[in-house]
Amino acid sequence: MVAKVKNVGQPPLNLTESLYVTELVRGLLTTNRHFWRNWLRRKDTATLEYPDRKRPYSPRWRGLHRLMLREDGSPRCVACMMCSTHCPANCITIVAREHPDPAIEKVPASFEIDLLKCIFCGYCEEACPCDAIRVDSGVHAQPVYGRDEAIIDLADLLSRGSQSTSKQGGRSL
């Protein structure tokens, strides 16, 4: 494919522009105007004085993942692998294990998310049938010294967890 070339020519200068002096004066007037507007009333200043003032977060900001809890504090997650299957970045690694209570049956033995791979798209949350994983903690991922430290585990995910309002297992009916 031949790239399309669009020639953008410079517009020719008219008489006053070609003298430069008028343009120079116009430039000086512009900077002068900015000076006085900003000096007296900070009209155009967009700077946010960061540590003192912080910009409010977007309501769409997600933050780190968390795993929700059952009433007894154990994870709601049943290790169905829906999230890891849907994950476009392949960042979720779950190992399942048998739970002694046949009503729960399957729980994660380990649940790891590689934050360096994660793109925080929220598909895991969408895929979860149990309201177990959520990407809504609002907590920032911390910088780390090694790649291994960027992998968050079950305990870390549960530490941000809370109880869901939905009933798990559908055993009410």
Partner: protein, 508 residues
Amino acid sequence: MPVLTIDSRQVEVEAGTTILKAAAKLGIDIPVFCYHDGLPVAANCRMCLVEVKGAPKPCPACEVQVRDGMEVLTQSPLVLEARKAVLEFILLNHPVDCPICDQAGECVLQDHYFAHSAGPSRIQVRKVHKAKAVPIGPNVMLDKERCINCTRCVRFCREITKTSQLAQVQRGNHTEITVFPGRQFDDPYSLCTVDLCPVGALTSRDFRFRKRSWLLKSIPAVCPECSRGCNVWVDVADGQVWRVRPRENQAVNRWWACDQGRLAFRRFEGQRADRALVDYAPRDATRAATMAAAATAAGRLQTIRSHGGRVVLVLSPMVSLEEGYAALRFASVILGEKLVLLAPRPDGTADSLLRTVDANANRTGLAKLAGLMGFEVADLGGFFASPAAVEVAGLLSVGAEYPVPPLPPGAKMSQAVTLSHCLDPVADKSTVLLPIPAHFEKDGHYVSTAGLVQRSHQALPPAEAVAQVHSLLSEMASKMGGTLGFTDLPSVRSAALSLAGTGEGSHA
């Protein structure tokens, strides 16, 4: 022969054929739960209901036999409504715990629900709850809630293995599958019921919760556990075998496979030979280190040979035709031997369904190959008991897993070079151990006890240091000043198969 019309298309079939099979001849798919080609018809799930002109109500296609001039509709409003109603009925008490169900992804109920119903549940009363996660046998876990009472498992135990260990008890929506009190579901083919179960009621205890079905890749292979040569699917993911399932082959194993064969892939977990051992000292886990160890072994065998000593080939009948051919060729060209010692695994238990006494996958094929190449075939144990064994100074063993017979008194044995995939007693007695691929890691041909040549495909890549038998032996041959006449696996294969005058699927 009767001619009937299904969905305005005419088909002529044998008298006594069911509507389901006649439709299948036309390529029309009728959904079923309880019907299975290998089992007697029960017609209890009612999923296959079709409309027959003139019949007072829909008929089960799996059971009703065709009649001349019959008119069958499989997509009429009545049939679609019937399927929907049947699915709603089946799902009344189904727990719908797909997230924790191992069957999810390969569940017939899921598939049919999406294809034929996809409506929400209208049930307003409590579901009937039954026992979950009941370990009814050493290999099978039963979830009574998920069961749709198709009775495939009951019919399998009654009609195929004839153990009748499973039964249906209670009535109505309390009907459940169970074993007899105080008894275990320890049928040697119990895992077949897991395959048969269209839902997740019967699941494998070995495979349970290990991997989701949609993550697995299936590779066609041949089971190595006995001389039957059952066709299997090897389900792999993440460079590991997770499950072995039977692959339909009416000539060999039909739809079935024994539990022993399915779980055989776990036999050498944790004791695989993944690097070379020279005088019991491990070498680096690299291909180069393995090849260096092969050169060491070649040097030692050469020393024995140059002093006029005798090196004898020991061949495990577990290896493929290709490996056996390479080994025999090495024995005749390099070692100058016309004797091969077959070292079989001990006999197993046979039964009337599939399992054979001979626990070796390729004894028929290798014995024939050795004969065609002019070898005298002897048994390892018998040879060691004979006086000739005293004179043997070296052993080259290809394949292992055989019981090591005691050395004859006064034996001059100084070197035992073994090409093996596992660290078993044979490896313990070897002065040089060279790692070769395990069964599912190699591509090779096997001859079943019935003489059928079958190909088993490579399901997994072997570890880095592991080398194929033919490349190890080629390396050793070149170090010992000879050549075997082949370079890669296809050339070994064509040489072996053309010698035997056979191809895949033909009888040797």
